[in-house]
């Protein structure tokens, strides 16, 4: 009995600890509740956790600065974030809870492709504005006017990136792309292959692996047998991208390396090791510690690391920016009404941590709901991300 009593005590303590974290401070101002969704446990947890943290930091900044002034009202922002465990059905239930229980009109942040489709079945009919970092062409469209992608996708990035590769590194002729076998992976490889073909590259391999794979020797043996000049770990998340590069090096790969949809170079370098990560080009990597990023990003990075003891990846930055954009649009619209905010969102550019940001993408998706901001092409040198060029996605040039 004694030992069991011990466990019970530990569990009670855990329960008490968690109970404490859920009570937000009381506020006299009006409250604006904003929802965040994402996988917060299990294998994809790092995406969801970054989404929540990015939102949390911006919300806190606003609250500390006296709240969000919309018209004549001042709102304190309250975040409600739910875990959907990367399951589509669970995401629909979680979205229902946000929309109908918490009466949320804005859901800023979600990841994992299939869950976005499920959430949209709830948000679109209710005119809830929903922004996400899921990739996949099916998530944006004229039939989904209330949905936004808050991060550049490979449809914006792949073409300018490979145009740059072609110009600066003409020795690269044959490119192999490898991605996880899910919506993001399929979409990324498709965009990469389209860009490659359009620019006259040869596609050496267009391969997919099951998410969670650790041993890439089998698939790499097959890919390397096609003798590519460049290996693009396209939509692989940092941990898996790191393993691919490390194992490719072990198998004798010496060519160029790219990461079209890079999200967190620090983790990649850590896992691949400095040697295997040397020379990785990416149009999406962001290293908040780099000397090249703006002061605001660096400050964000420092603050983030202080709070969470981890280095932020691109998803954290993207959701921080998305939060910024949506709250600014509310102020511009002088209203919380989603129809009015929707108009404000598409009217003028926003000044964000990314730099100048507009909503575009009509050519690709048929509607301007894709966040467009400058693409910084970087190279990993001696374990550090060095920004070497800035290019603009097609829609941002206007």
């Amino acid at each position: 009995m004694r030992i069991r009593g011990g466990i019970a005590a530990v569990v009670m303590m855990a329960l008490a600890a968690t109970a404490g974290t859920t009570t937000p401070g009381a506020a006299q101002d009006k409250t604006l509740t904003i929802g965040v969704l994402g996988p917060l446990s299990g294998g994809a947890a790092s995406y969801g956790v970054e989404l929540v943290r990015g939102a949390e930091m911006r919300a806190e900044e606003i609250n500390k600065g006296g709240g969000l002034k919309v018209g004549s009202d001042v709102y304190r922002i309250k975040l409600v974030s739910y875990d959907h465990k990367a399951l589509a059905a669970d995401a629909a239930t979680a979205a229902n809870k946000l929309v109908f229980q918490d009466k949320v009109k804005y859901i800023i942040g979600n990841a994992v492709g299939a869950t976005c489709n499920a959430v949209q079945t709830v948000t679109e009919p209710e005119k809830v504005l929903f922004s996400f970092v899921c990739w996949g062409t099916s998530n944006l469209g004229p039939d989904k006017p209330h949905s936004f992608r808050a991060m550049l996708s490979q449809w914006e990035v792949a073409e300018p990136f490979y145009r740059w590769v072609k110009e600066k590194h003409p020795q690269v002729k044959r490119v192999a792309a490898i991605s996880p076998n899910d919506t993001s992976g399929k979409d990324t490889n498709t965009a990469v292959v389209k860009a490659l073909k359009g620019l006259g590259f040869e596609v050496a391999a267009d391969e997919y692996y099951e998410r969670g794979t650790k041993d890439f020797y089998p698939i790499l043996t097959k890919i390397l047998a096609t003798k590519p000049d460049m290996l693009d770990v396209a939509a692989a998340p940092p941990g898996e991208a790191g393993l691919i590069l490390k194992q490719a090096r072990e198998l004798g790969f010496k060519g160029s390396k790219g990461w079209t949809a890079g999200v967190n170079p620090v983790t990649l370098v850590g896992i691949a090791g400095k040697e295997a990560a040397e020379g990785v080009w990416s149009p999406a990597n962001i290293n908040v510690k780099s000397d090249f990023v703006s002061a605001t990003v660096r400050r964000f990075g420092e603050e983030y690391e202080k709070r969470y003891k981890e280095v932020p990846g691109v998803i954290a930055v993207a959701n921080y920016a998305a939060f910024d954009v949506f709250t600014k649009a509310m102020q511009d619209a002088r209203s919380l009404d989603t129809d009015k905010v929707l108009v404000a969102l598409t009217q003028k550019p926003f000044d964000t941590v990314w730099g100048r940001l507009v909503l575009g993408g009509k050519e690709t998706y048929g509607i301007d709901r894709q966040f467009l901001y400058p693409v910084v092409i970087s190279e990993i040198r001696d374990g550090k991300v060095v920004d070497i060029a800035q290019v603009l996605p097609a829609g941002l040039k206007k």
């Binding site: 004694r2 859920t22 929540v52 875990d83 589509a88 229902n96 809870k97 492709g113 079945t121 919506t183």
Partner: protein
Amino acid sequence: MELSRSGVPSAGVALIALAAAALPLVTRDSYYLDVATTILMNLTLTMSFRLQVSTGQINMAHISFMGIGAYASALLVTRVGLSFWATLWIGPLVAAALAVPIGSVALRVSGPYYFLITFAFSEVVRLFFNNFFEGLFGGPSGLVGIPKPDRLLGLAFDGKLELYGLMAVLCVGVALALVRLDHSRFGLTAGAIRQADLLAETLGVNVFRYKLTTFVLGSFIAGLAGVFFAHFRRVLHSSDFGLEPMVLLVVFTVIGGTGSVWGPVVGTILMTIASELLRELHHYEILVFGAVLILTMLFAPEGLVALPGTARRLLRRLRGRAPAAAGVGLAP
């Protein structure tokens, strides 16, 4: 369990029906209706899962048949243009038809081997939906654009309330069938198989056929839940029929107790509500859930339904040596 007395089980089903009918009178909040619909859908799954547990099978592929029903109906409606009301029966029949060969293979083994072979089957089905015939099943992107049920007898099924009502009718129907089965000779024999399968076999019970029957019947019901799921959520993804949701079904059932049909009912309702309440806790949710699972199984090994009896026994035991226990508890 006295065979003839049908009053008790029927009263239980009537209670479910009454509760289901009463909910819309209390609230029409979309979220509550959504959760209630999910509970009813899960109930058909856990009750039919328990039917198999009652013959000693822990069928980890149960959720795959839900998936088969769901994909079958979604494709028949969107590609062939059949009515939902037709696929509501065709979907489960497809699931049951596939259950015959799969069950025949799986039931050649028993115990942990059965558990693991059904797990292997469920992964084969999930990976199949995820990686093969992408044009048909949508592959890793999932299947989208599944319509809601079409009109029937002038009733439109485009609102949460109507869908809830439909699921309630399906669930009560399934519950009625399963309760009757459980309290019939069939249920008696099924329980005998669980207690001593070799004895049952030598007394003339074709254990294989009984198990296969429950396997196919359970798969039919899972397929029915799957058809509803497809047109309720209107988005399908292979992971909805993978290990994680399956594990939750087992948890719901066992936490409630597998001793009677009411175990899964209690387990499903309590656990679904708890999980909705704990959703905000993120990964603490599974921390809390994990601890609850361990404690429940240690202190109520026969499930929550059997808890009153277990508690009485425990209390008697505790009272017998209460002073000693207190003394030990304080020791460093």
